[in-house]
């Protein structure tokens, strides 16, 4: 077993400085990278009722009558993915179209340390604490103004659990990208996640994406080597994301759709993926529907055991977006649209496929403003 051999270092490299144990200070958010007026960007500290510090950012415009849009990133990404300075990004477009963007860094954000250190969580926590409490905080500020949510990947999956639990009622509309109530992975990806998770979970905590942080010779080396098989791009970070999606074998984006600058920044935009989240992810994926992890912990009883069965509680129009080349979640959104149209025909759910786009590039792609945001703006515009 390659991971047992002593050839691979299981202790930190000598060059890695040990982190000082945090006694008085708490987790701090890495600063956002953007080209907005610093005065317009307001960071609002948000500590959830289970004691986790999150990041909530409001991009002010000086207008107090604009509809608010809460944007949720995917797991291991961060609010940075909506603020790319090198392209026309979602926040630019929302501001120009007269919205007030709010960015939540939920606990899976790579601006926060929880994926690597700190306490573990499941998506139940995100659905129960992070999203509802952020929505609550935003509502305190915006009052009766409409509030939309645009959610990507796991952000959207967790939002579906919050919505079906009735924890975020009265939204003006939800745009879900990549996956919503019916997550579906390719069989090969699913198998690799299961097997890899089981093999590695007692050896490593997370799968890094930045080769520069772990060094050439480490226990992660075989993972990077596996990810590089058949890759077309020589960048190890790109290989483990584009070619392997943290070792799962899926593809996170269409390579050609990223600008060079974004490609260079991938290690900053996407962080390491924790392995301890895999059991919940696996349970969800095998059930092909969003299911609660905690069956015996009554703190989570507000969440439905199966979000798809509780989809009738969704009280807001939903736009399901997906790239036609989504290598991770496949055609989950199309499936979700079919299933909801059949089982919950009363819901206002529509599906839009973005031709030629993968998963992450629907927001990170250099042409996302042209190909993707128009659909989002149309949807928001009809309901503002």
């Amino acid at each position: 077993m390659i991971f047992r051999t002593t050839s691979f270092r299981t202790t930190p490299a000598r060059t890695t400085r040990p982190a000082l144990r945090k006694v008085r200070s708490t987790a701090a958010l890495r600063p956002l990278r953007h080209r907005l007026d610093p005065a317009a960007v307001e960071e609002i500290p948000l500590r959830t009722s289970d004691g986790v510090l999150l990041g909530l950012t409001r991009v002010g415009t000086g207008h107090s009558d604009r509809p608010a849009v809460l944007v949720l990133h995917g797991h291991t990404a961060s609010a940075d993915m909506f603020l790319l300075p090198e392209t026309r990004n979602l926040v630019d477009v929302l501001l120009d179209e007269g919205y007030e963007p709010w960015l939540l860094d939920w606990r899976g954000s790579c601006r926060l340390p929880y994926n690597e250190t700190g306490r573990r969580y499941t998506y139940d926590d995100v659905a129960l604490y992070d999203i509802p409490e952020a929505v609550c905080r935003i509502r305190q500020r915006i009052g009766d103004r409409p509030l939309f949510v645009i959610a990507h990947c796991i952000g959207s999956l967790s939002l579906s659990l919050s919505l079906t639990a009735g924890l975020v009622p009265g939204l003006a509309g939800v745009v879900s990208q990549g996956v919503f109530l019916t997550p579906k992975l390719a069989g090969r990806t699913s198998l690799r996640i299961s097997v890899m998770g089981e093999l590695l979970k007692s050896r490593i905590d997370y799968i890094p994406v930045d080769f520069r942080k772990v060094g050439l010779w480490s226990k992660y080396t075989p993972l990077f080597a596996l990810a590089s098989r058949g890759a077309s791009c020589p960048d190890p970070t790109c290989q483990i994301l584009h070619n392997s999606a943290w070792g799962s074998g899926a593809s996170l984006f269409v390579h050609e759709n990223l600008s060079e600058a974004t490609h260079e920044r991938l290690a900053e935009l996407l962080g390491p993926a924790p392995l301890w989240i895999l059991p919940h992810l696996r349970r969800i994926e095998l059930a092909r529907s969003v299911v609660r992890w905690h069956d015996t912990d009554h703190r989570y009883r507000a969440l439905p055991p199966n979000a798809l069965d509780a989809a009738g509680r969704i009280d807001t129009p939903v736009l399901l977006l997906a790239g036609s080349e989504n290598g991770l979640w496949q055609d989950s959104q199309k499936l979700c649209h079919e299933v909801l149209a059949h089982r919950q025909p009363q819901l206002d759910v529509r599906y839009t496929e973005i031709p030629g786009y993968g998963h992450l590039d629907t927001f990170l792609g250099r042409g996302a403003a042209l190909d993707v945001y128009g659909h989002i703006l149309d949807f928001l515009g009809e309901r503002r």
Binding site: K201, H342, G374
Partner: protein, 889 residues
């Protein structure tokens, strides 16, 4: 859309035209003309009223204004000469030479020589009659006598109607193909008149050599001469700058007699005067081409452009199929602001038209697209693109790239009709590229420049076709444009020629050009299940063509070369195999046989959406184009491949069944193609019998219920896309009716909704049956059945047991129960008993059976494994999750 085939009456008229039925005499015609033009005009057109020409022409110009300004101007200029035929050609009305035509637009032919010798009033009068008739078929409602019917907005359908009307009302027998070849009323009149009077001279086409507008210097016009040169062996190459008609005529005719020309395998068009069958271009077209080529010599000398990716570029043809995709790719893959030239009256209309076209091609048209696009109303056929001088000047200095995609793509129209869009338009863009700031011109040419029957190679740097062997006007116009722009290169202009072949539908969206030849051919292949024996199809999907073209535009080192954007050619074997894979087995036929058969089928069962294909297959010049396309060699694209590899673009892939699937679906949606359907002869079928019991809701299931069903598929498409099987047969259940019930409509979905359980749990859906039943008394019932996969060891039973609910139509279920396929009949019926379409060969049958079994087996396997995988995951989740072990925390 109306079609000749839709209207037997009109077809009868057309046939009477073919038979050469007589009509009105000239005098009656002129009487009609008088009636049509009114008293004022009559004085100008009467046989003895030569002096009234000015009045007549004025009346004409005001009554029948052209579709656009230059055309109107042209009619105004030409009419005096036509109306005053007996005058000797003075300086104002040169017979052949055209040195002083400065104010004329590019479309404005000059007065013609024959009018000196013939009673040209007849010609003019006739032209007015034809123009008036043609005008009724146009959006503008009128047509100038020397404006092109198609350029003014006429369509092929309108042309068919016009021909019938001319014959029916006026007895003017104009051949439909003549109308396509040159649809200017004046030319039609000139062509028809000599048939009445055989002594009538043939019009000398050299007289209608065009001139450029005043914005270009005019050195070449001096070389156009009326003096017939001795028939010295001038090179008839494109670079010959002296478009002298006589020597070329002599040369061409000498060639025609010296070289053996293979007999055409396709029926020739109705003979038009002295012309032979369609193996050579018409002399008047060749003359015109040479004259047009000479226009390139008037371009100024240009400096080298700055080698930077474009920041501001002009794109023409953005409303077209390729242009619209290129617009989006330009925006995606560069930071450029794009100026789109769109034919419309004003900016608002132009913007609306662009948006509508983009949406039609399933492309985004959002505020994000609009903020990077400036729409300029204009027309590529007009001098300075129809832009104001100030705007033209500003563009010349601000733009850093010009991209010409606009072209009239019509395989029926002749060179005369297409040249203003395809050749003069390209030259106007070259003029813009050469003016002001130096900038490259990227020209979308076409593989049609090689479209000569019998050409042996089509590499990027191979010689183009012999222009006199290009028969169709489209091929000629694309050839002339590219050769003219080659000449422009000699003036220092950087010209990139991008030559797509067939442009197939988008691989992701299925957006296609419904009037494109390849759309029509693909649709006909699938619909009639036959293909002509072609060599290879040089076609690539629009997304790839557009992406590579844009890459060449954005990469300065790629500028200035010729690229074949033809992708990987599809051979006949590839196409036949792809279609067989989709369950659409086609048979190969000889080209002539295929054409006859396809036309017969289109006649017998008209498909309005494919009417254009019928017209192409009937038109002798278009046929040459199709024949050359089908029999040509594979196009080579080494330079394109190198560019693609160097820029890391998606390399060319064969446009195979998977890539075409979306397009085929959309073609079927649009009515061109046809997917296999429920009521077709099934592709594959087998029987299934089930036995079991049902009972009322809440009570024990004790009433016997059995089903004898036939499960069939019409093609593999429904399996892969819909995962659905068709069902027919009978259901016997005495609890419903003593007699067996017939299945009126039945479907089975395999792993419906990916097997997602209907309720939280481990009971995954394996199959779903939905039958609509009719009992002997006419009562309607529904039956809903499901097979479930569970994490239990009775797998064999899970695949056979069907839980059923039965109810009256529109009511809730009244009976519940379970029926099971008997174990002994399963293999016998559903594996050994599979039947395949008897029209297939043994090999095809075995392949079909194997494909079905493999697909179905795999789906059932996946369905059965799903609950076990979840149970296993639950067990694994019992493992203790170790505490964090990373040290650098």
């Amino acid at each position: 859309m109306r079609d000749l085939n839709d209207d037997p009456g009109r077809r009868a008229v057309a046939e009477s035209i073919e038979r050469g039925g007589g009509g009105l005499g000239v005098s009656e015609l002129l009487a009609k003309v008088r009636a049509a033009r009114g008293a004022g005009a009559v004085t100008g057109t009467g046989p003895g009223a030569g002096g009234g020409g000015g009045l007549g022409s004025g009346g004409l110009a005001s009554e029948v204004p052209g579709p656009d300004a230059p055309a109107a101007e042209a009619s105004g200029v030409e009419a005096p000469a036509a109306d005053v035929p007996d005058q000797d050609p003075g300086p104002d009305a040169p017979a052949v030479d055209v040195p002083d035509q400065g104010p004329l637009g590019p479309d404005a032919p000059v007065p013609n020589a024959p009018f000196r010798h013939a009673p040209a009033l007849d010609v003019a009068g006739l032209a007015v009659v034809i123009a008036a008739a043609a005008g009724r078929h146009l959006p503008a409602g009128h047509l100038a006598v020397d404006a092109d019917f198609f350029d003014a907005g006429g369509t092929s359908v309108h042309a068919v109607e016009l021909v019938a009307e001319l014959e029916g009302e006026f007895g003017i027998e104009v051949d439909l193909d003549e109308v396509f070849a040159d649809a200017r009323p004046m030319t039609l009149a000139r062509r028809w008149l000599p048939r009445l009077d055989p002594t009538h001279h043939r019009p000398d086409i050299a007289g209608s050599v065009p001139t450029r507008d005043g914005t270009l210097p005019d050195p070449a016009s001096a070389s156009v001469t009326t003096v017939p040169l001795p028939p010295t062996p001038l090179p008839a190459s494109a670079e010959n700058t002296a478009p002298a008609s006589a020597p070329i005529t002599a040369l061409a005719s000498a060639k025609g007699s010296a070289l053996p020309i293979p007999a055409p395998r396709t029926p020739p068009a109705a003979p038009t005067g002295h012309e032979g069958p369609h193996t050579r271009a018409r002399q008047e077209d060749l003359d015109r081409i040479l004259a047009d080529l000479a226009l390139a010599d008037r371009l100024p000398f240009a400096d080298a452009p700055e080698p930077l990716p474009p920041r501001r570029l002009l794109l023409t043809g953005a409303t077209g199929f390729l242009g619209s995709h290129m617009l989006l790719d330009l925006l995606r893959h560069s930071d450029a602001h794009v100026y789109c030239l769109v034919r419309a009256d004003d900016e608002e209309a132009a913007t609306a038209r662009l948006g509508e076209q983009l949406r039609g091609y399933r492309l985004p048209w959002s505020s994000e697209v609009r903020r990077r696009v400036t729409v300029l109303p204009g027309d590529i056929r007009r001098p300075h693109l129809g832009l104001s001088d100030e705007l033209w000047h500003r563009l010349a200095h601000e733009l850093d790239s010009v991209v010409g995609v606009a072209a009239a793509v019509d395989f029926l129209r002749g060179y005369q009709s297409l040249r203003s869009s395809n050749v003069l338009g390209a030259l106007t863009l070259a003029e813009l590229a050469a003016a002001g700031r130096p900038k490259p011109l990227h020209h979308i040419s076409s593989i049609a420049v090689f479209n000569e029957v019998g050409i042996t190679s089509m590499g990027e740097d191979d010689p183009l076709a012999h222009v006199d062997r290009l028969i169709s006007g489209y091929d000629q116009s694309k050839w002339a444009a590219e050769v003219a722009l080659r000449r422009a290169r000699d003036h220092g202009l950087v010209v990139t020629a991008l030559r797509p072949g067939g442009i197939g539908g988008h691989t992701r969206t299925g957006a296609h050009n419904p009037l494109d030849l390849s759309s029509g051919l693909i649709s006909a292949f699938g619909r009639f299940r036959t293909v002509p024996a072609f060599h290879c199809l040089n076609a690539a999907p629009v997304d790839w063509v557009s992406r590579v073209a844009v890459a060449a535009i954005c990469e300065p080192d790629a500028w200035g070369f010729d690229y074949n954007l033809t992708g990987v050619p599809n051979t006949l074997d590839d196409v036949v195999r792809d279609m067989a894979l989709g369950g659409m087995h086609v048979r190969v036929r000889d080209w002539d046989e295929w054409r006859t058969d396809t036309l017969a089928r289109l006649d017998a069962d008209p498909v309005p959406e494919l009417a254009f294909l019928g017209r192409v297959l009937r038109n002798p010049t278009a046929l040459k184009l199709v024949e050359a396309t089908l029999k040509g060699p594979a196009a080579g694209g080494e330079r394109t491949d190198a560019l693609v590899a160097a820029l890391g673009l998606p390399s060319a892939a064969r446009y195979d069944a998977r890539a075409q699937l979306k397009t085929f679906e959309k073609l079927a949606d649009d009515g061109l193609a046809r997917l296999p359907q429920k009521d077709d002869q099934p592709y594959l079928w087998f029987s299934e019998t089930t036995e079991g019991t049902v009972g009322p809701v809440g009570a024990a299931a004790e009433t016997p219920c059995s089903m004898a069903l036939t499960l069939s598929i019409a093609g593999m498409y429904q399996l892969v896309k819909e995962r659905r099987v068709d069902v027919t047969g009978e259901v016997s259940c005495t609890a419903i009716h003593p007699e067996p019930l017939t299945v009126e409509r039945g479907d089975i979905w395999i792993r419906p909704e990916e097997g997602i359980p209907q309720q939280h749990g481990l009971r995954h859906q394996l199959l779903r049956y939905r039958l609509r039943l009719a009992d002997a008394d006419g009562g309607r019932w529904w039956l809903e059945g499901r097979k479930y996969a569970r994490a239990r060891r009775d797998l064999w039973r899970q695949t056979r047991a069907l839980t059923v609910e039965i109810g009256r139509e529109g009511e809730a279920a009244s009976l519940l129960g379970e029926v099971v396929v008997p174990a002994d009949s399963y293999v016998r019926d559903q594996i050994d008993g599979i039947k395949v379409d008897p029209r297939l060969t043994g090999q095809e049958k075995r392949a079909a059976k194997l494909t079905w079994l493999a697909w179905f087996g795999l789906e059932m396997g996946r369905g059965l494994v799903a609950p076990f995988a979840r149970a296993a995951a639950d067990l694994l989740d019992l493992r203790r999750t170790p505490t964090l072990s990373e040290h650098h925390r």
